[in-house]
Amino acid sequence: MTGTAENLVLILFAVTMLWVAASSRLELYARMLGWQGVLLFVVALGNIAPEEKFTLAFVAVETLLLKGLVIPMYLIRVIRRNEIRRETEPYLPNLYSLAVAVGLTAVGFVLAFLVRLGHHPVHPCLFGAAVAVILNALFILLTRKKFITHIIAFVFLENGIFLLSLAVAGEMPFVVNLGVMLDVFMWVLLAGVFVRTMKDAIPGQHIDKLRGLRG
């Protein structure tokens, strides 16, 4: 893949977060996760040598299958079962959220530019897109109330970290990569189970209802 095409994919990856920031539809959030999984696979293709077939197959399973298909489908199922369609009453209206998300994306790319000035061994666009997604995921976590949105935001965070880790993919032994993948997958499954369990115990499924434990 040429540098320009890769940069375009990376920018598209960062832009998915703007869409999320501007919307309140939970299924759209989950679908964006799926698209991010596909885009991650495309970026990974450009960073892995063609002769490393085993690594390529592993990354395909991790990105296309898990991040692109299984996790979004599972989350959509949880959303439908819990009968929650929208992120109502966010701490910040969607228009302001979009403005902040644009700012955070800019911060990510400015940081990448600064790092590049220091002649560090980092792909600037990859670094910028990863930091932008991580910052935006944290922003979604802080400004949304539904449990399910928090789970989705956590997976966005993990996607940003995955992109960042592509810069150093060669450092991790296979066992570690496998462990990281399984941990993230188990985390999503477990969190989904918690959301279903807490459906009756905590009305509205809002994070600000979690104030029972004090003193």
Binding site: H120, I161, V168, V176, T197, L213
Partner: protein
């Protein structure tokens, strides 16, 4: 040997569904494993470090100390469980006891993985696995509060651990351009001086935030009082006395890399600041505590702060920190297990509902008082010696302001702790909250295993305080030397 240690709990976990109707057999099996683990830890202490499979796992001079502490705590908590599952309030959940033991065994395996990891990436995987497995234990008793605690635990810790992973990526970047670079402790240890200081300095706070969240250091401690107060007593004890230590080992290993890279001062400053914050938070919250298990949890935050300060000051204070790890684990495990007795007697976690333990159950009262005296570092407990070492190092470094602040915050915490503990021990016991059941009758339901583990743990803490045996002293000096600190 290392593979056997890690695989045994997984095999036992697979056996548990077959024992679903035999709760006592489940308890005995897990207890037998804990005894075996303790024997293996002693074996490692005698024979020394051992490499593991594929250079990803290993026992070294540092992990032996942590392994010993964890094994002792597990023996005590699993023995206590033998009585815990006999109690009337646990009969409702007896059918789910096998799930408790499955997740406990997975939790133990993941904590062992953290201790035995020879690779930073693998350590991260095991830390995250320990969160997932223990979250199910936190909400073992279903209810709104336990779900809330488990949710906060899993979320706050996972986000913290994600930051640690970003730190690991930055640490990898610091090694970019070096031949055969790896994140194994051995490689990082031998090449630390060649790592890029910019990425190393960027990685350190992220790794500290991540592992510090799991260790319960302020300001990322919020999950800890909730999770520890809602978990069943043996799990609270294991979380506080073993899991926090495992995360501390991760922090120590990262600190070691910075020491070797000549960035020790940077790392020390962050640890000392976080340590003092971790003393300040409990000083405020223990005074206002309404729930005795939350009081103990805040005390864990305090003690992790003391340990972070000890690591930060280095030298004799590092020795003190390692000793404090053991002291805190022994005393806090005992304290949490005794809190399980109090819950079985009073059926309440509120401090205001618990009076006159002395009249209801003298043995629990002694153990409760012993726990308070030990955790507040009174002589002859080993915690006194460890805190004395840390303060002596501060004096040696002429950090008078730090010494005064340390003393002041510990005194406030001591005062607050004893205000609650003495109020609970003395006074007249009444009836169970909202019922006409005489509380004194509930105490007769507790068996010997509800007291013996705490008694042994407290005696061990006193024994270490009165006379540190030579083998233990050598084990600790080896660990301090391994970290690379001077000035013992």
């Amino acid at each position: 040997m290392i593979s056997v240690l890690l695989l045994t709990p997984l095999v036992l976990a697979a056996l548990m569904p077959g024992l679903r109707r035999r709760v006592m057999w489940q308890c005995r099996l897990v207890f037998a494993y804990a005894v075996g683990l303790a024997a293996a830890a002693v074996w490692f202490a005698v024979t020394g470090p051992e490499p593991g499979p594929a250079s990803l796992l290993a026992v070294d001079d540092l992990s032996i100390w942590f392994l010993l502490i964890m094994a002792v705590v597990l023996v005590a908590t699993t023995l206590y469980s033998c009585d815990f599952f006999r109690r009337p309030e646990e009969q409702e959940t007896a059918e789910r006891a096998w799930k408790y033991h499955v997740f406990l065994l997975l939790f133990v395996a993941s904590m062992l993985g953290v201790l035995l990891s020879a690779h930073l990436g693998l350590l991260w995987v095991f830390v995250e696995t320990s969160t997932l497995s223990s979250a199910m234990l936190v909400c073992y008793h279903p209810g709104r509060n336990s779900y809330e605690a488990a949710w906060k635990y899993i979320f706050i810790c996972s986000i913290g651990i994600s930051f640690a992973f970003i730190g690991i990526i930055f640490l990898s970047l610091s090694a970019a351009g070096l031949e055969h670079s790896s994140l194994s402790w051995d490689w990082l240890d031998s090449h630390a001086a060649q790592l890029n200081p910019f990425w190393l300095k960027t990685a350190m706070p992220l790794l500290l935030i991540g592992l510090g969240t799991k260790m319960g250091l302020a300001p990322m401690h919020n999950w800890l009082p909730d999770a520890h107060s809602e978990a069943p007593a043996p799990i609270s004890a294991t979380l506080s006395a073993a899991l926090l230590n495992a995360s501390c080992l991760g922090i120590l290993r990262v600190h070691m890399i910075l020491l070797r890279a000549g960035l020790g001062e940077y790392s020390r400053t962050i640890l000392i600041v976080m340590g003092f914050l971790s003393l300040l938070v409990p000083a405020i919250f223990i005074l206002r505590a309404r729930n005795y298990k939350r009081m103990l949890a805040y005390s864990s935050v305090e003690n992790m702060g003391i340990i972070a300060i000890g690591i930060g000051f280095g030298g004799a204070a590092l020795f003190g920190a390692l000793l404090h790890l053991a002291g805190h684990s022994l005393v806090k495990a005992s304290f949490f297990l005794t809190s399980g007795n109090l819950y079985s007697i009073y059926h309440s976690k509120r401090i205001r509902d618990v009076h006159g333990i002395w009249r209801c159950d003298a043995m629990s009262a002694w153990l409760w008082l012993g726990g308070a005296v030990g955790i507040c570092a009174f002589p002859p407990f080993v915690t006194f010696i460890s805190e004395f070492n840390i303060m002596a190092r501060m004096l040696q470094e002429r950090a008078i302001v730090a010494l005064l602040l340390f003393g002041l915050l510990l005194t406030v915490i001591l005062g607050a702790m004893f205000k609650h503990v003495l109020g609970m021990v003395f006074g007249r016991p009444g009836f169970e909250c909202g019922t006409d059941i005489d509380i004194s009758d509930n105490a007769s339901l507790l068996g010997p295993a509800a007291y013996l583990p705490q008694l042994v743990l407290l005696l061990a803490a006193v024994g270490l305080g009165l006379c540190l045996p030579d083998p233990v002293y050598h084990l600790m000096t080896k660990a301090v030397t391994f970290i690379g600190e001077q000035g013992l």
